[in-house]
């Protein structure tokens, strides 16, 4: 354990030192990528990472501007170093525990040249949700607030209860959840009441934050993602064949790739409703494009569409930087599940709360907020 921790610190140190300015080029530089694989394909192999902290959606002050100025980036880095709220303490032990992953454990990347990952629509913001998706979000929000009704969070008007009200525990609190749950809720009847992360299943396609290891075979490309605290995953991009029949639904979809000149184009369909990305389940379709720009840079673009969730397709763009193959800093074995003491502990804790309440020695379990960390419900399906 000590060995692993030390390694993590050194990774953080390296990242913190990588304040190098990236030279952005609008067009791939011909001839600089330098190599092809043994199979004659453009060479994308290696470990790749977006080394910058870039907002997912563009802050409104940037308007339609895709790139930030040096001054804006420096200002963002300064603000991050100030690290507001780094050592905030609550009077209640629960709040402290909720902040277990403080600044020491989360590495901060420097601000990058982009003002947002989303580049299309031109305002850098995800298009409006469909009426259907808005309604689904409302059902989910209402359900989660219902389970918080009798908590202290609602009593004091905490941000976690925003939009909800304080009152007696709802008679609906033991009902079957009216949607397939993947986020934290203030109930712990069984594993299904926990978030995907609690259940070690938070890895999603697409993923923009983690390391990716690309190994290119003759007719397949393997991509190993190291992301989200041991919740990484493997994707296989087949360069031949067609998508499987509609009834085959896969956690990371079925990916088929082809070469368009120097660019690897991957189309992914056949997603499972059990592993939604920002509310998008089985109707999701991705088109990803990887292009080697130079020896150390891979340009990545992803367009996602789901007409049941968004009113238009949208696109993100990233420049990924090559990491040292020799240092090999990637976990290809996500082992969150193997060490998941948290999930049974959550359930055992709740059963003990119920037992204490029945014995008259503890509060009514639904009066306890064990979902929002007091500060707010975690994001839906992200």
């Amino acid at each position: 354990m000590k060995r692993r921790l030390l390694e993590s610190f050194s990774v953080a140190t390296v990242l913190a030192c990588v304040m190098v300015l990236m030279q952005l080029t609008a067009v791939p530089v011909e001839g600089q990528a330098g190599s092809t694989t043994a199979w004659g394909h453009p060479n994308l192999e290696g470990i790749w990472l977006d080394v910058y902290a870039t907002p997912f959606e563009r802050p409104e002050r940037f308007g339609d501007r895709e790139l930030a100025t040096e001054e804006e980036r420096a200002a963002q880095d300064m603000a991050r170093m100030g690290n507001e709220g780094r050592n905030e303490r609550g009077g209640d032990g629960r709040v402290d525990v909720a902040g277990a992953y403080n600044a020491v454990y989360t590495s901060a990347k420097p601000a990058g040249p982009r003002t947002s990952l989303v580049v299309d629509p031109p305002n850098g913001r995800v298009p409006a949700l469909t009426a259907e998706a808005v309604q689904m979000n409302e059902v989910q929000r209402e359900w989660r607030l219902m389970l918080l009704r009798s908590t202290e969070t609602c009593k004091v008007g905490g941000t976690g209860c925003r939009g909800g009200e304080f009152g007696e525990a709802s008679p609906r609190r033991f009902d079957v959840t009216p949607f397939y749950n993947t986020s934290r809720m203030n109930r712990h009847d069984g594993p299904e009441d926990q978030s995907s992360g609690d259940r070690c299943m938070s890895g999603r396609t697409p993923d923009f934050n983690g390391f990716r290891r690309i190994v290119q075979g003759a007719d397949s490309i393997a991509m190993g993602y190291d992301t989200g605290q041991g919740q990484g995953f493997q994707r296989i991009i087949n360069l031949t064949g067609d998508h499987p029949p509609r009834q085959i639904r896969l956690r990371h979809g079925d990916s088929r790739g082809r070469w368009e000149g120097e660019t690897l184009v991957i189309e992914t369909t056949n997603f499972s409703p059990k592993f939604p990305f920002r509310g998008s389940g089985e109707n999701r379709k991705l088109v990803e494009r990887y292009t080697r720009v130079d020896a150390d840079t891979l340009s990545y673009e992803m367009t996602i569409e789901d007409p049941t969730v968004w009113t238009a397709p949208w696109t993100i763009r990233q420049e990924l930087k090559r990491q040292s193959d020799q240092e090999n800093r990637i976990y290809y074995e996500p082992r969150c599940h193997e060490g998941n003491y948290g999930l049974p502990a959550l359930l055992i804790g709740r059963r003990l709360d119920e037992q204490k309440y029945e014995e008259g020695t503890g509060p009514e379990p639904f009066s306890l907020d064990t979902a929002t960390c007091v500060n707010g419900l975690e994001g839906l399906d992200d």
Partner: protein, 320 residues
């Protein structure tokens, strides 16, 4: 331009490879492009979807067919007349275990020390509670190579990537020089080299928490192995693994078996995402209301009693 000439060289090399393949193989799926038997630099081409086709995942050692994955004494007191036990009773004849000549070379027995053999037998008797496969834990090497799920080989320039259907597990065989993992692992750290046509892989850095099959054969932190992948034909690999673990075995021992190419034109590895498949098994007893009840009416009533031995409750065993 530099780039153009590289591509031409690669294409020329690929063409040579393709010519060799026509001479060597001839087994291409319908509508699939020809698959060269060799890489452009003359190594065997292991790209594709593969799977073992044997009973090694049940038990590496030679064994006869059994009536149930979990057994109990039946009417007679004899060992050979045991019957399926409660956890698998509802599955009828689908609950059994097929026999096998085994894959352990030599006398077919794993050379356990006396103490380790006792533990192996205890593991077998407590299979349901102890086997990491049932919890969807990462299977480890060599077990992942012969589980009853396909895996895909993506043979790259300096790496060979294997993606396993079971639990979305993977291994990377490094043909180049890399730093090892910062902690012990389930899947091991694989470093490979070519000896002629054979890919030789040393696998180390295990955490000692993996099993080798469903019969209780197990590993410790000093477990390591050397694998040899040799082409039998374009569609079959002879796989050998020599296993060393001074904490458990009196001498190194070897397993060997063919791995077969999945020749269906659309062969692909469909993920077996078993983390939530195992949740009821692992956490069902922690529900507010149990899902398993006594059934009524014409429906079979099966009272399943899983006796968890002292020290074997959830996580205790793996925390040892």
């Amino acid at each position: 331009m530099m780039r153009g000439s590289t591509i031409i060289t690669a294409l020329a090399a690929a063409t040579v490879g393709a010519v060799i393949s026509v001479a060597v193989t001839g087994t291409e799926g319908q509508g699939q492009p020809p698959r060269p038997a060799e890489t452009p630099d003359g190594r065997p081409n292991f790209n594709g979807v593969w799977q073992a086709n044997n009973e090694a995942h049940w038990d590496l050692e030679a064994h006869e067919a059994r009536a149930g994955m979990v057994m109990q004494q039946g009417v007679y007191p004899f060992e050979f007349s045991r019957v399926p036990a409660a956890p698998v009773l509802a599955l009828g004849a689908a609950a059994g275990v097929p026999g096998s000549l085994g894959v352990v070379q030599g006398d077919g027995q794993i050379p356990y020390t006396a103490e380790a053999l006792r533990m192996k037998q205890e593991n077998g008797e407590n299979w349901i509670d102890r086997d990491p496969e049932l919890k969807c834990y990462l299977p480890g090497i060599p077990r992942a190579m012969y589980m009853p799920y396909p895996f895909q080989i993506s043979q790259g320039t300096d790496k060979i990537h294997m993606t396993f259907g079971f639990s979305n597990a993977a291994r990377v065989i490094h043909l180049d020089d890399v730093t090892g993992p910062p902690d012990y692992t389930y899947m091991g750290h694989s470093v490979g080299r070519w000896e002629g046509n054979t890919l030789v892989v040393d696998v180390t850095e295990f955490n000692g928490r993996t099993w080798l099959d469903r019969a209780g054969n197990y590993t410790s932190e000093s477990f390591r192995l050397t694998e040899r992948f040799s082409p039998l034909s374009a569609d079959a690999i002879w796989y050998e693994a020599t296993i060393t673990d001074p904490a458990l075995y009196t001498e190194p021992w070897t397993i060997a078996m063919p791995l077969y190419r999945r020749l269906e034109p659309s062969a692909t590895v469909l993920d077996y995402p078993c983390i939530d498949f195992a949740e009821e098994f692992m956490y069902g007893h922690l529900r507010r209301e149990q899902l398993v009840r006594r059934w009524e009416g014409e429906t079979m009533i099966v009272e399943i009693t899983r006796k968890v031995p002292p020290g074997d409750s959830l996580h205790e065993w793996y925390r040892r």
